[in-house]
Subunit: 134 residues, 2 copies
DNA sequence: ATTTGTGCAAATCGTTTGCATCTGA
DNA sequence: TCAGATGCAAACGATTTGCACAAAT
């Protein structure tokens, strides 16, 4: 509880009602992958009066404060991940659900040389799944 | 030239003026990474009367016909790749330019077991680059 | 003649923003 | 008190779609 207030103020964010609520939903129960829309619905279901715009703003603020990580999945929607460690994802095509991959897939020893003057910022890996046809 | 007409009709697509033009721009000069907007500008520059909607439609048709591959980069824009082989990309953050990676990054021997009833459809890897700070 | 493609403008979808109003330190 | 947050609605940018017209088989 107080960790959360702490977490927010350490990040330079005022612990407002809605930020505490969203923080609680996000960080209260292990690793999570959420979209803005989803989190908005959860907040409403939890009787937290909040606007979708605030959910978007909050997710972005949490992300630049380093409390969340944005996940690069193509398509329209943006996902946010509470698991900040280096890891990758399964993505199920229909349900659009993300699952953490159990291990590193990248062979770091074979990382390519980036072009002159550039460095590697991040490597995104998404393993797309489809329903197995029988 | 006739390859292209051939390519289109093999794919069940009528070789119309605009499809031939776009096909020519796309497949006429090695591997390419394009957005709809970009290809639209090129077509106009090449004095091909075409509408942006048709460019979108055509890119999607080419993709479902297996002539193009969609690249999963997060963010708003969708990229299409004429290189159909298994490969990955560098992405420069500001310029939003894609570059083919010289080699496979994925350690295929360590591919994870997909969840029950699912199979791996595709693995997307994007190596994000940033300008090296001096 | 029939089917398929094209162009335009309007519609959609996720996300952002401007601005007036509220709220927490 | 007063900077910073919130909510709403309008703005946005990429993409899709509905429909009348045009072109290909």
């Amino acid at each position: 509880m107080h960790d959360l207030r702490r977490k927010l103020s350490d990040a330079g964010l005022r612990p407002t009602r809605q930020r505490l609520r969203l923080g609680w939903l996000l960080f209260g129960s292990g690793d999570r992958h959420v979209t803005a829309e989803r989190l908005f619905e959860e907040a409403l279901a939890a009787r937290t009066p909040i606007s979708l715009a605030t959910v978007y703003n909050t997710l972005n603020q949490f992300t630049s404060a380093g409390l969340l990580r944005e996940i690069a999945v193509d398509g329209a929607k943006t996902y946010f991940d509470t698991n900040l460690s280096e890891h990758q994802h399964f993505l199920t095509e229909e349900a659009q659900i993300l699952i953490d991959l159990p291990q590193q897939l990248i062979d770091m020893s074979r990382l390519p040389e980036p072009p002159e003057g550039m460095e590697i910022a991040r490597i995104d890996v998404v393993v797309r799944l489809r329903r197995k046809k029988v």
